[in-house]
Structure formats: C-alpha cells, structure tokens
Symmetry: C2
Subunit: 377 residues, 2 copies
Amino acid sequence: VFEVKWDAIAAEKGGYAHFMLKEIHEQPRAFKDTLTGRLNLEKHEVKLDDIKITRNELEKIEKIFIVACGTAYHAGVVGKYIIEKLCKIPVEVDIASEFRYREPMMDENTLVIIISQSGETADTLAALREAKNKGSRVIAITNVVGSSVAREADDVLYTWAGPEIAVASTKAYSTQLIALTLIALRFAKELGTISHELFDEVAVELKKLPEKADLLLTKEEEIKKLAERYSQVEHLFYIGRGLDYAVALEGALKLKEISYIHAEAYAAGELKHGTLALIVNGTPVIALATQEHLFEKTLSNIKEVKAREAVVIGFAKEGNEEIKKSVDHVFYIPKTHPMLMPILTVIPLQLFAYHAAVARGTDVDKPRNLAKSVTVE
Amino acid sequence: VFEVKWDAIAAEKGGYAHFMLKEIHEQPRAFKDTLTGRLNLEKHEVKLDDIKITRNELEKIEKIFIVACGTAYHAGVVGKYIIEKLCKIPVEVDIASEFRYREPMMDENTLVIIISQSGETADTLAALREAKNKGSRVIAITNVVGSSVAREADDVLYTWAGPEIAVASTKAYSTQLIALTLIALRFAKELGTISHELFDEVAVELKKLPEKADLLLTKEEEIKKLAERYSQVEHLFYIGRGLDYAVALEGALKLKEISYIHAEAYAAGELKHGTLALIVNGTPVIALATQEHLFEKTLSNIKEVKAREAVVIGFAKEGNEEIKKSVDHVFYIPKTHPMLMPILTVIPLQLFAYHAAVARGTDVDKPRNLAKSVTVE
C-alpha cells in the first residue's frame, strides 16, 4: 500500500502569497502521488487497493450515477464522458442536492460514484446513504482518509492531493479527474471494453501528466498578464464543446468564487440559442478548443462571438496555428490524450482566476460568503 | 383528427405592443388547443394520433433521450422529471449540439424525443438523423406541421401553439411541457406504471390549465411593477430545486435574451458551492418555491441569500403564507398538480423578462445577435 504523509509544515504557505497559489503549484506533485503504485504499464493493469468490486459484480452494473456538489460535480461531468467512452456503461451525473430529493431510479444493478474532497459534504453524504438504502454499490472518491464518505462507502479511491486549505478547490479537482480516469481504465480492462493499445496510450499519457503540468506552470507569467488585463470586467463567458465544455464549467466557477466576476460557461453550440445577446464589443470570452475532433465547430462559434466584437482568449493544443487567426490571445496546452486534456487545461484557468482575484484585491483564500466544506444543507 | 387553422391575421400583433406580449397572452388558447381531443377523462385515456408506438414496442424501451436546444432543451429538463416519475424509464436530456458529437449509446431499445418549435433546428435535426441511424425510434415534438423533424421522425406530437414570431419563445415552451406531459401519461397508462387516481388527478389539472393561465395573466400589472423596479440591474439570479430549478433555467434565458441582463439560474442547493460569492447587498434573486416537498429546503436557501442582503422575489403556490416572512416580494401561482407547476410558473417569468426589456428599451421581438430558428450549426 502506497501512503502519502503530510504534516503541519506542508499545510503552510511555503513562500506563496496564498494557499490557493501554493495548491495550484502542488499539482505536479499531487498528480504523481495520485498515480504512484496504481498504474502498472508492464502488466497493462490498474491497481486500486480499496476498490474491491469484482469483475463479476461489475458485469451486472447497468447504470452509473456520479453524484457531487460544486467543483466535484464538475469533475463528475468529465468523468461521465470518460467512463461512458471506455466502459460503455451509461453514466448520469447529478448535483447531490438535486439527486437526493428526486427519487432517482437505483437498485442493486446501479453503481454510485460519490465525489467529495472533504468527504463530509452534507448533500453528498445524504446521497451516498440514499444509494446504499436502495441496495446500490457506492464508490467514494475523496481526499480525506477516514472521512465520513470514505467510511460509509463500499469502495474508496483516495486522491493524494494533500491538504487543501484554500476555499476554491484546485488540486482536488484535477486529482479527482485522475481518479475517475483510473477507475474507468480499471473497469474497462475487466469488462474487456478497451483495447490494449488504447489502455497503454492513456496510461502512458497519465504518467506524463506531472511533467506537463510542470511545463504549464512555467507559463504562469503569460496567464497572469491576461488575467490582469481583463480583471476589471463585470462579465466573462467561457465556451467549449464536449470535454472543453466540462472544463469551462469549472473555469467559470473558479473565477466567480474568488474574483466575484460574473462568469458563466456555455456549451458553445448553445450560444445562438440565447446567450449571444449578451456578447457586445469588448466582452471577454474564454474559448476552450483543445479537442481536435470538435475544433472546426468550436472555431465557428469563436467566429460568431468575434463577429460581435468580443475579445477572445483561445486555449488550444500546442501546435494549433489555425486558431491564431480568429482570436485575440492564444494560450497553448501541451499535447496529451484528448481525454486527459481537461486535467491540463484547468491549470491555466485556475491561474487566470487567481491572478484576476489578486488584481481585484479580494480575499483569495477565503472568498466572501463561502466555506471550505459545506457540511450543512 | 383535430386541426387548428391559422392565417395571416393571427400572425399580426392584434393590439399588442409586441409579438412576444401577444404570444404570452395567447397561452390559455394555446393550452386549450394543445389539449383538445387528446385527453379523454371518461376513458382515462390519452389519444395522440401521430404517436403510433405500441405497448409492445414501448415495453422494450430501456432508455429515453430528450434532445433539443435552447428553450426546447429547458422543456426537456422538465420532461425528464415527469417521464421518469410517471413511466419509470430512465431519461437523459441533452443539448443537441453536444449530443450529436459525443457518440451517445443508442440502439433499438432507445427512444429519442426531439423537441424543436420550428422543426428545422440544425443540431436537433442532425441528432434525429443520428438516432435513426442507430436504429432508435424517434418522436418529434414540434409546432410546425410538415417541418423537417416532423417529416423525418417516426412519431410526431404537434404543439398547437400557433405561429410564434417573437425570437424569444414563450407559448412554444409551455405547450412543449403539455406535450411532454401527454406523452408521459400515455406511456405510463400503457406500461401500467400509473394509478387511475394519479392519472385522473393530472388529467383533470391539465384541463384546468387554460383558466389558471388566464387568471395569472390578470396579474400582469403586479409583475410589470416588479420588472420595472429591477430592470436596471446588471446581474440577476434565479434559484430553485427540482422542477423549480428547471423553470429557473428558462426564466433566466428569457431575461438574458431580450433584456441583456446577465441572468443565471442555479440549483438552490449549489449556491453554497460558489455562486453565493456573487450575492451582495441589493443583488436581485428570483426564488422559485412552488414545490411543496422541497419548500423548507428552498426556504433555507432563500434565507442564505437574504443574510447577504439580496433582494428576493419569491414565487410560491397560492396560500403559502410562510414565504412572506423571508422575501421582499412574493408572487403567487395558482395551485395545480406539482408536476404542472412549471407550465404556470413560467408565465410570470416571461412577463418579467418582457417588461424588464421594455423598460430598458431593447428591441424585444428581435433581440440583437439572435435569429428565430437556428438552421445553421
């Protein structure tokens, strides 16, 4: 069993101006810790000690629910995509405060994946109990050993992010994405729904994430300048398709919770159905266009907002020259497997939110009105 | 077969300042037309001529997708709730521009319900074709006889809303909700998943919707005053739980598209996970609290935003006195079956958006950047 130790010193700011910035920078280390001992490239295997569900049990699963709140819910939106793609099991992702009151159809053939950094989120914990009452198996993804969800779930997968102090979650989110990917790989392998080639491709790329995250962090100055430049706006839109839309949701939430800019994320194809009315000369739009197979479609949405004179900051995969012609600024993300792009893309979005908040002079680590863990309803 | 005729005259403003206002006021008539000939209370039956799917075929359906864009997508969010409750078939609702590119798992045991007012929405039509390619049965809900989706779907249910000219959809949305309810009742009856009592209860209340909508429209002045009072704000939040959350999405979209106020809807339980940071002294919050079984929970969210000095406009069921103590204004919705509340609740939200837009002097019927039917991607 691999164990990560942390102590009081690790929970201090260690030279960073804020816990949030420190935690953003800890991501390469957190990625490595969350992966260590779990991926065996030689055997093409994923080893998750506390996920004991057997192949036999897995074959009976007809439906997966991912249930969480806030940032963890956004991780679930990515997780749905990856699990459906790799395991061919339908996945529904739901907000815990909605899920628990809507009498969702669950039974012993349902698997429920609960995500909570603290493991104490009230609505999420209630959803877990509801699922168990209905006879469904529950897997918890959490960052806190011995937390309520870890104790009450049938299976647990820990993110080894280390203590997260800032209210706005960063390294917990990205390691939740890694955890979901590991679960998807393990299930897909046992169900026989993934080829050796695809398994290896994703696994190899997972192992490279720490160094790519490191590389991204060296470009902090670039994103800081952009954040400062647009830090005084009142509104900001994030657009994307597919997995880029999922990350857009998290990018918008980050900005909203610490800078108090009213940020909102849209599935890029939905713009024409209403939100385009809000785009005027100078409205900043962050356009995520890292998914190759959706690039042309996203580009056409970028052109739509440019036609209304929006200022567009594009996020694209390293080497994409075409986007330059249609955006005001471009920020490049290192290449990886498309499914893993969100894990890297979120890093500059976290930095953007952080530097915009600092420029606005807000209390970054303790934004107004918010608490770290929502342990009441 | 019941048929509704409309001509050039019906498509003129008939004394109203805008098509949108006229169309809002046409809802009692549109409800009646959409219901006429379809509900047989004596036989406890729903008769939908162009939905030919048999009981046998229905019993094989394991999963329903509802696919649409914009306002029609919001109708789908309500539809998911009603169909799952009444028919016990899992329903997934998806944005057409996302659905068509994410390779959703569909086969001959999947039913796809497509919703499009015009019947020509490009992404929705593409989703329909994708579903048919996969061997899934497709039901279209549309307002335009002979439109592309009507022609290409296996089954059709027309909303008899009459021509909708204003870009912002109103009567199309509310009649789509009626159409979805009719489908749910018909399926539930055949599948035996609904009791006679519940069937009759919902059916009787459906029949009463036109007069209740009429009653609501007599309270226009009340909502107009509220809209004018808050028309100059930059941000406005809509909150609700369950079906109230679904209507909140539509209320926010209406305001956004015609008044250009940045409105955003939230599942009330999610506030504490981020958005609460945007709520300050004077921020207007529209709180929908029409669902009795969720009322206490929603009330506690109302108190949270009040504690941050938000101005709260509450929408509650006639007779709810308790809400008065916690909100700045309250607007009452006539009592009906909880499942049908969205059909009534949306009416004052449409009027709120309309009067806010008029007060801001925008081009209500033709908001900037938007087209009535999005026939390109």
